[in-house]
């Protein structure tokens, strides 16, 4: 599947969660931080155009996220395809992807997203009331992972 090959070459393998924690700890001003977050969004594997559909939407109050998950049967890992209409939210989705993409369902269930976002000082973006859809997206990925264990 072409989408899967794209995922395999991207976030989660090339840029890891540790890389992101390291890089963000260097920046001092918002321009650097958010510039980097926006760049990360561009590393997301291309989201299949045909899947910008209602069933793939994770609705936020201010922006929305699209989520599509495939299972790589050979490796037993989950491949995540994420997109958003807002570029900072795309960047945040990439940060999530760096942690969860190409991981086994068990690894995904066990991953502590709260402490990851706290470490990079972006915890407020993960709040359930933030309305950007990121929290709801993480929840959905975790639920899908749980269902596959």
């Amino acid at each position: 599947m072409t989408a899967s090959t794209a995922a395999a070459t991207n976030l989660g393998s090339t840029t890891t969660d540790e890389d992101i924690v390291d890089t963000l700890s260097f920046f001092e001003d918002w321009e650097e931080r958010y510039g980097y977050i926006i760049e990360l969004g561009k590393e997301l594997p291309p989201y299949p155009e045909a899947l910008h559909t209602e069933e793939h939407i994770v609705r936020g109050c201010q922006s929305q996220v699209w989520l599509h998950i495939e299972m790589d049967e050979a490796s037993g890992k989950m491949l995540l395809f994420l997109d958003s209409d807002a570029i900072i939210v795309r960047g945040l989705a990439a940060i999530v992807s760096a942690a969860l993409n190409q991981k086994t369902p068990q690894e995904i269930v066990d991953y502590d997203m709260q402490s990851y976002f706290a470490k990079i000082d972006l915890l407020k973006h993960l709040s359930p009331t933030r309305g950007n859809g990121i929290q709801a997206m993480v929840e959905r990925i975790k639920n899908e992972a749980k269902a596959r264990i």
Binding site: C61, A86, I87
Partner: protein, 404 residues
Amino acid sequence: MSLDVHAIREQFPILQQTAHGKPLVYLDNAATTQKPVAVIDAVDNYYRTQNSNVHRGAHYLGDLATAALEDARLSVARFLNAEREEVIWTKGTTESLNLVAHSFGGSQLKAGDEVLVSTLEHHANIVPWQQVCERTGATLKVIPLAADGSLNLSDIDNLLTGNTKILSIAHASNALGTLNPVAELITKARKVGAYVVLDGAQAVSHFSVDVKALDCDFYAFSGHKIFGPTGIGVLYGKKDLLNAMPPYQTGGEMIETVSFEKSTWNRLPYKFEAGTPHIAGAVGLGAALEWLMAQDREAIWEHEKALLAYATEKAKAFPGLRIIGDAEHKVGVLSFLIDNTHPSDVGTLLDQQGVAVRTGHHCTMPLMAALQIPGTVRASFAPYNTHADVDALFAGLEKIIKFL
């Protein structure tokens, strides 16, 4: 007389702080306003010296708390030019509108009747009516919008007819700032025998409102949008109508007698105040209204209009910026979009620069659908905002467009 903005600013302690290391520029006043020391002190003093349950006459503190709550009610009555029995404490505009819709609407409406709202209503002035219409068989009708964000009244005589039982409409729009021609609409409603409910959430902090002069039947507003606490609001209703309406919630405080066969209701306003009220909130709201009535309200209105005019002028000169809602009559709200940017990105990056605005659909999804936009960036003004705040907003936007 022009407003001494700095004297006002000094009374709002929260404005002295920084946000993300930048001086805080608070332009989200339509969502909630900040609180002056007079309000903070009143709430503090209530808990330190008056706290008790009310209307139970049992002891010294009970009398103090009851007096504080009822004094606050008198402040509201004076503020709106209403009678004290016509002032009902609620949680806020949302509860006030639910109370009118369910109690008044629920008892008045029948199949074939119509409720008329407008395209620019907050969800709080749509959904309760939708619910009551569903239950009673009445129909919800909608006044359309003109291109500039004002109401399109060209077809109003076909919408507001003998079938219209209730017209429920925003005094001012939270998403666009549009100031609706409520006096004209009330006159028209009277001619066809419709009752009028006004959602005053976005009006009362900006200019004085006289419910008798307006001759509306109900008026709703929230404490937190007028320099008072959250969790407290007001429903004004005409005494005759309130007396005829069934209770909304039942329980303690609102009853006269209770037996297992039958209960009878307390007199106004208590009939609509089931349970222990938000006493500290009411006290804080009373203090907020007293504070506001002691200001030069004409000067506040002029100041906010000047800020809006200044911001609008800057917005019109800003490349790629589209103002959403440019009606002739507005309160201090500037909603806009910038080409090729998402409102949520603009909001996040303004926040990083210490500028607080609101982005999204502002609880007006039908309005956003009518405008065919996903949402807006909204800056909204209060008396403590300055021209420098507007400058900070546009300096922030300049940086952002280089970025996005």
